[in-house]
């Protein structure tokens, strides 16, 4: 197997930070090479350099042994390099054919699009690599997994030999993930080479040929799944030993804290997103809501926390009717909310750390006397929380935007956990965080459960749901399709529920 792509000493500086520090990487023909690293380690920066979106300050790129200069995505394509971004670059109201040939159109008769010819080419590619898709379907009607296929077809249409997949599994169901890996295998079997960016250890172990780990912009090492294990990779990523398993006692559920009956909620487009959901969460247990992103979880949480009112149904917290409560009333009952989009909803990025700690308690003593804010108490509170929750910040007066994602999330966790709470609603509490922060936040959630708090955990990370939950409810198209005991269920079963199937049916 020859080396098809080499990166030598790639260095990229952003003002005040070294995003890539003399990175060396080589990609062999026909291999799946995983690029593993935490958020902010510099993976995406490196790939954007390779794809011509950034210009490296130092270093060289060689394709098939020849030095190349890549100044734009067009140059990258010309070198046979193609990229599937984490967020797809597709026009939803265009068909597959139109999207695939966008920017590289087949034309006939001096200006008319030759859709037939392009469609034939797409069908050829589909058959060769086992990428079935209807060329004349509209993108908006396709599930996410198929949209991703269209992205891959786009690259093959342009005859890319080196495919970069940036976090391709983040938006997929477990079954779709398996499909994707089959496709990846068939691609490398026919001589394509793949760089696969991820921070999920399991996928790396199962599906890659070689693994390069990046930390703080530097290559920590290159290894293979045979030589490494998950704990070793985690340690390479983080730079210290990490314990990925969570020690937890069996749950001791007590009285019902959160009770939801036949809840119906609309989404932003006024369509029904939550369609008659009922469940309850007891003190001292974690109920995990599993599901692929966009199956009503966001709207469910918004309704439970008072940020949006349901159109039907009933919500009770500690027996009190809270169906049409405001967020303020929600907090006042002794409930806490870790919002899904921390930067949009949970924090004021332009505020100093200390003010973010009082976002929902600023009007109450000791932070206020009458209408006057009490700075000494606010400062003392901030210092205590920074210490107790190990938040890495230069000072409590630092604006929140300069903290890392993990520390921003810790600010929210510290704020919500510092009150005496009886109910915790945590939506995607570890999304996009590094392994160290995930470990920390998981342990805190379990600690709250053991203190007798009722915890509702909403997450699209199946591993997280399985690790933390005592019971699991699976949401699919706005409904809860199954509620199971976490101890009695396998990952595969949950995966089938998430895809809208019943495990019994699937067996047939």
């Amino acid at each position: 197997m020859g080396v098809i792509l080499e990166l030598h000493g790639i260095t990229k500086r952003f003002p005040g930070v070294l995003a890539n520090d003399h990175i060396d990487l080589d990609l062999r023909e026909g291999e799946i090479h995983a690029l593993l690293g935490e958020n902010g380690a510099g993976k995406t920066t490196l790939m954007n350099i390779l794809y011509g979106l950034y210009k490296p300050d130092e270093g060289e790129i060689r394709v098939n042994g020849n030095r190349v200069e890549i100044h734009s995505p067009r140059d990258a394509i010309a070198c046979g390099i193609g990229m599937v971004h984490q967020h797809f670059m597709l026009v939803p109201v265009f068909t597959v054919v139109d999207n695939v040939m966008l920017g590289d159109e087949y034309v006939r008769g001096g200006g008319f699009l030759d859709r037939r010819k392009a469609a034939n080419r797409i069908l050829e590619i589909s058959q060769q690599y086992n990428l079935q898709v209807d060329p004349f379907a509209y993108i908006k009607d396709l599930p996410v997994g198929l949209q991703q296929r269209v992205e891959i077809i786009k690259l093959l249409f342009r005859e890319a030999n080196i495919l970069i997949l940036d976090e391709p599994t983040a938006v997929l169901t477990p079954q779709e993930v398996d499909e994707l890996f089959k496709i990846m295998k068939s691609l490398v079997a026919s001589g394509k080479s793949i760089i696969f960016i991820t921070h999920k250890l399991r996928e790396v172990m199962e599906f890659s040929d070689r693994i390069t780990v990046i930390r703080n912009g530097k290559v920590v090492g290159t290894t293979t799944p045979q030589e490494a294990d998950q704990n070793k990779l985690a340690a390479m990523m983080v730079g210290r030993q990490i314990d990925l398993t969570i020690e937890k006692k069996p749950a001791a559920p007590q009285q019902v804290v959160l009770e939801v009956r036949n809840l119906k909620v609309l989404d932003a487009r006024k369509l029904i997103a939550v369609n008659g959901v009922s469940f309850e969460v007891r003190a001292g247990e974690v109920l995990g809501i599993a599901g692929v992103q966009g199956n009503g979880q966001t709207e469910l949480v918004r309704a439970l926390t008072g940020m949006q009112h349901p159109i039907e149904g009933e919500i009770r917290i500690l027996g009190k009717e809270m169906t049409h409560a405001s967020p303020k009333e929600f907090f006042e009952t002794g409930a806490a909310h870790i919002p899904e989009d921390r930067q949009k909803d949970g924090l004021v990025l332009t505020y100093p750390v200390k003010d973010n700690f009082i976002l929902n308690t600023f009007y109450k003593p000791p932070f206020a006397q009458g209408i006057v804010l009490q700075q000494p108490q606010i400062i003392a509170n901030a210092e205590e929380l920074v210490e107790k929750f190990d938040i890495r910040t230069p000072s409590i007066f630092t604006t929140l935007s300069s903290l890392s994602g993990g520390n921003q999330q810790k600010v929210i966790v510290a704020r919500e956990f510092s009150r005496p709470i009886k109910l915790l609603i945590a939506a995607q509490p570890t999304r996009g965080l590094d392994v160290g922060s995930i470990e920390y936040i998981h342990n805190r959630l379990i600690e709250k459960r053991d203190e007798g708090c009722a915890v509702l955990l909403v997450s699209t990370e199946l591993d997280e749901i399985l690790q933390l939950s005592d019971r699991i409810a699976v949401m699919y198209r706005g409904r809860i399709v199954a509620t199971v005991n976490a101890a009695e269920v396998t990952k595969e079963q949950i995966g089938l529920y998430m895809a809208g199937l019943q495990p019994e049916m699937a067996k047939v």
């Binding site: 003002p15 005040g16 920066t45 940020m307 967020p327 332009t350 929902n360 600023f362 209408i371 804010l373």
Partner: protein, 414 residues
């Protein structure tokens, strides 16, 4: 020996740290923007001088000399107009004659008189900015404030000054508050954008004032559309005899600026309002009432602008004519920007604008230099404030730390 050596080594380090801070500070950009605006204003003053072109025909050196002279004359006249003539002031103090001292100092005080409505109107716009609302309607609110104050000054009779003047001032504020409340309420109820509504409300205010001044409020003894003079009991007291118009309004403005500062930064109400401005989603999450905050803010903002109108009517003009058009309301948008929407910044920016405006009037009268040069300077200062990248490039400044980090994280997620 050792100690002093160490100290010597430390000092340059400290100096470097200090310079580094200065290069990152947003204040530096503001000051350099003002400086650059004034500098370019000087060049434009030279370019508009016909003598300079004549002198260039003689020789290059002569041309530059005359051009520099023209710029110097402009700024000298501006300075004398804004602050008074130091020579005259010291001569007046030497005579000890109170009347002469008053005359000599009056340009300085007149600048403060000009700055006063700027403070009120600038606070109005800045307060809105802090809550994420663009109150473009300060001009209209000033008009309505002036109308309400003049009504209270003319038609309420028989009250002692201690009650009448504050009452008329307050009624002026309430007039402005009404004009701010309407767009705030419409935004909260219907989602109508406050920029559009406040602009439209301006036109309504202008036409309303013309209508009232040609009818209900018109002085029957005059042929021109002008209101009757307000009762002397409604006057905001002046400190000095004519022609010095310096009045208590200036100190009221400073006091209100301080109150706004306290409200915004020291109280729970201010915390809520600022949070709504900084991140409405987070404010909603935290249980804050966004609709209420918007309505309150637009009303208060309108009230502050209304005070500007009342201040002009009760303290300076003492009646209201159709020619009352001030332009304060529009300038104040720029001024709030210059003052970084902070009450202290607004006061400083208002003083700058007051001195420039008054200086310019005097400059035109005494040196014959067109007043428009000041508009150009103001426009350039604001352009530089709005496009700080120009100033940073010109003076090799660094970005503030937070901005740097924000750019970095954008880069990461791109």
């Amino acid at each position: 020996m050792d100690d002093s050596k160490k100290r010597q080594e430390q000092n340059p380090k400290r100096l470097n740290v200090f310079l580094e801070e200065v290069r990152r500070s947003p204040l530096t950009v503001t000051f350099l923007a003002i400086f650059t605006g004034l500098f370019l204003g000087g060049i434009i003053a030279a370019l508009t001088s016909e003598q300079m072109y004549a002198a260039f025909r003689v020789s290059l050196g002569e041309g530059i000399k005359v051009g520099a002279q023209a710029a110097w004359n402009t700024y000298r006249a501006l300075f004398l107009g804004a602050f008074g003539d130091p020579a005259k002031i010291s001569a007046a103090f030497a005579t000890g004659d109170w009347l002469q001292i008053n005359r000599a100092l009056s340009p300085f005080f007149e600048s403060l008189v000009q700055a006063t409505p700027y403070i009120f109107a600038g606070l109005a716009v800045a307060f809105g900015f802090r809550v994420g609302l663009f109150n473009i309607g300060a001009e209209g609110q000033i008009f309505v404030g002036a109308l309400a104050a003049v009504w209270a000054g003319v038609f309420i009779k028989g009250l002692p000054a201690i009650i009448h003047a504050p009452l008329a001032f307050l009624i002026g504020g309430l007039g402005g508050a009404l004009w701010g409340f309407v767009p705030g309420w419409l935004k909260a109820k219907t989602g109508a954008h406050e920029v559009i509504i406040t602009i439209m409300m301006n036109y309504i205010a202008f036409r309303l004032s013309e209508y009232l001044l040609t009818g209900y409020l018109r002085d029957p003894n005059k042929t021109t559309p002008i209101s009757a003079p307000i009762e002397t009991t409604a006057w905001i007291p002046r400190f000095f005899p004519d022609p010095n118009r310096f009045h208590l309004g200036f100190f009221i403005a400073l006091g209100i600026a301080y109150l706004i500062y306290l409200l915004l930064f020291k109280t729970t109400w201010g915390f809520e309002l600022r949070t709504v401005g900084a991140n409405p989603s987070a404010a909603h999450y935290a249980g804050m009432n966004i609709v209420r905050s918007m309505v309150i803010t637009m009303s208060l903002s309108g009230m502050l602008a209304g005070f500007a109108g009342a201040n002009e009517v009760l303290g300076v003009n003492r009646n209201l004519g159709v020619a009352f058009s001030s332009g304060y309301g529009f300038d104040s948008i720029a001024l709030a920007l210059l003052g970084n929407s902070h009450p202290l910044g607004v006061v400083l920016a208002a003083l700058l604008f007051g001195f420039l405006r008054n200086g310019a009037i005097q400059m035109q009268l005494t040196a014959g230099i067109p007043i428009d040069i000041i508009s150009i300077i103001q426009a350039m200062i604001l352009a530089f404030i709005a496009a700080p990248a120009i100033i940073r490039t010109l003076y090799r400044l660094k970005l503030p730390k937070e901005v740097e980090v924000a750019i970095r994280s954008e880069g990461e997620s791109a």
